[in-house]
């Protein structure tokens, strides 16, 4: 495959590593596709939407090397902590694979950004990002994760990392794990009785007599 060849050429003497060599095996591609198709969606769709969805998931965009890089980056951005799991626990890389196909405008910034990152790592550490040690990966990320203090020659990397951060966060916080983490507790039938008393008190607020008289209220014990 041309793409693999070109990366190898770029390495010029650097040891080509496992992930890169494995990247383009056809079996792996199939595995990714199957995984992405694993979830069944049950939303009401008009027929044009169904056709569009089938078309989108029939293709694979990222190769395995890119997916591996996305996974490492996503887990650096959203790691497991004491509250919740990591981006990859929430299947964020699979979400990113889908969304760049659904929103093609993300494709070039993502593909180009991933390559930019590999080139930087090869320049600095002699290896693409995923083959760097964890410390080297963090050293790289630190150069592009802080827009205001990044050096001018890192600005393309900053733009890529901003996109990667945003896609990762949006994928994570819209997953079941992420919704729970951020504490969104709605989307369930209930009776809205107004802001809880302790919260009103916290902010020095109160409902007026007019509001209490006019607004719908429910017996709190029900």
């Amino acid at each position: 495959m041309d793409r693999r060849k070109s990366i190898k050429t770029l390495l010029v003497g650097a040891v080509s590593t496992g992930v890169l060599v494995e990247a383009c095996k056809p079996e792996d591609k199939k595995a990714v596709l199957n995984d992405a198709n694993a979830q069944v969606y049950t939303l009401n769709r008009m027929k044009e939407e169904e056709e569009h969805y089938k078309e989108v998931v029939s293709k694979t965009f990222f190769n395995d090397h890119e997916m591996a890089t996305i996974t490492v980056l996503a887990d650096i951005i959203i790691p497991k902590d004491e509250v919740s799991g990591s981006a990859s626990d929430a299947k964020v890389p699979e979400f990113i694979e889908f969304i760049v196909k659904d929103m093609p405008g993300h494709q070039t910034p993502m593909r180009g950004g991933l390559r930019w990152l590999d080139i930087q790592c090869i320049k600095q550490f002699g290896k693409p990002f995923v083959d760097c040690t964890h410390d080297q990966q963090i050293q790289m990320v630190d150069q592009i994760a802080y827009p205001k203090k990044a050096k001018p020659d890192m600005h393309q990397g900053v733009a890529f990392f901003n996109l990667m951060r945003n896609l990762t966060a949006t994928g994570f916080y819209t997953s079941e794990i992420g919704v729970k983490d951020v504490g969104y507790v709605g989307n369930t039938p209930n009776q809205w009785n107004g802001v809880p008393d302790d919260v009103l008190k916290q902010y020095g607020l109160a409902y007026t007599e007019k509001e209490l008289k006019e607004c719908v209220s429910f017996d709190k014990k029900v």
Binding site: L43, S84, I99, M103, Y146, K148, R165, T188
Partner: protein, 579 residues
Amino acid sequence: MGDLQVKKQPKQYDAVIVGSGAGGGMAAYVLANAGLKVCLLEAGPMFDPAKDSCQLKNPWESPRRGASTKYRPFGDFDGCYWGWEIDGEPYTNSGDTKWEWWRARMLGGRTNHWGRISLRFGPKDFKRRSIDGLGDDWPIGYEDIKPYYDKIDRLLGVFGTNEGLENDPDGIFLPPPKPRLHELFIKRAATSIGIPVIPSRLSILTKKINDDRGQCFFCAQCGRSCKVYGDFSSSSCLVIPAIKTGNLDLVTNAMAREVLTNKEGLATGISYINKDDMQEYQVSGRTVILAASACESARLLLNSKSPRHPNGLANSSNVVGKYLHDSTGADMGGIIPELFDRKRYNEDGVGGMHVYTPWWLDNKKLDFPRGYHIEYGGGFGMPLYGFSWGIENLNGTYKIKGKQKEAGGYGASLKEDYRYFFGAHVGMAGRGEAIAREDNYCEIDPNVVDKFGIPVLRFHTKYSDYEIKQAKHMKETFAEILHAMGAVITWGGDDGPENNYGLHNPGNIIHEAGTVRMGNDPKRSALNKFSQAHDCKNLFCVDGGPFVSQADKNITWTILALSMRTSEYIVDEMKKRNI
């Protein structure tokens, strides 16, 4: 298509209605309940919110996490099929016109996903020319429409409060929901600088009104359409009940081509294409009622040329397509530092704002002639695609749990930031009245047809200084309110004269109206005060087309009231054998 032929439906109807949104749904409901035989044509497929709504789906149940597509521009869970563009159904803009045209294709039309903001026009809204010399007065006044507002309040349900405001009339209201936390902040701030904030008026059932519809259960998802019919949609509350009378035949996927007329120039029915078999059909009726949306109804009339109506049907006045106007819109948002790190609880509430600001100033003292109202948003919304996008612009600006951080970042510290800012955002949107002008119009594009071979619309619109100055005033007001509540503006604060102060493109607010306007003078209007064509007595239009002006009030409630009034007039005129 070797043997293209026109299939004529043998049944003779009392009324053929084109379009099943608010106007068409109400006409179908009134006429079918009066015992008339009605055929309702809808260009899109069947849609019943009870089974088809995406209500209560979680974000991860959408592969794109609720992001929008061209099929659902308001997001993957939204209750409206199509929107700004439809495959195979183009429209064109002339010159530097930036008209945006929303088109729904489904039973119930846009009412499946609308904001349920249900405002009566006030007495002044029908007589604007008499007040400021611009545009035209309506041929009717508030007293003509009030009984119908009262009836639809009772029939369909709307919450709100009677405030005794002169131009924001009282109604027959269900109790409103209590304000949410950010709405209390807004109310405290706005009233402190003299801007009123009152309970919103939305057609959502905070109390049960009949056995066919459930009570709101506060999921905030009216935009997805409601499975228990707890809010008003034309599909759930008008068309589906009308079908149960046995007097209504609904034809879906039926794209109207022309209004058919006879030698005397009277309407005889509609020709349409069935999108399923791509065959041509005709259906006949004693009356024809257009409710295809303001611009689609104008398009149908202009495409219905005949020897008796050489300029298009109901268009001897040459006004069809003219006086096209949408609400004006400008928005701004911010973040309230006082709400950082909020206690979590379910504040979904109803679908939309619990409070709003009706127009509160006197235009005689301002440099623009018409008012606007303000809609508010904020709080703990369901995380969807785009959630906390751009945190790198936020998390270096404020101390987080007492600590100043570098903007951007990653890791456990970043996760803390997302939690910290959740629920602290607030937004506001002005929706104002634009002047209906003859030189803002749509017409048939002489060169372009859609995939059905139907000539398409071409738009010509331009804003005047009135709308631009109004948008400037909106922005100044929003900044004052945000400032008064201790919020920091995060978007919409950089607009200026270079972009008309963030004034949205015309059409973008999706309140287009005026293209088939009513009036007493047949030379200056297409319809009389009952929305009956001056040139063709058995032809009516009951969508946004008949509006002479549209106030700063979302137009759906008035479309419903006018359609009910016209429908009762049709029943009456048929009884009298006048049509």
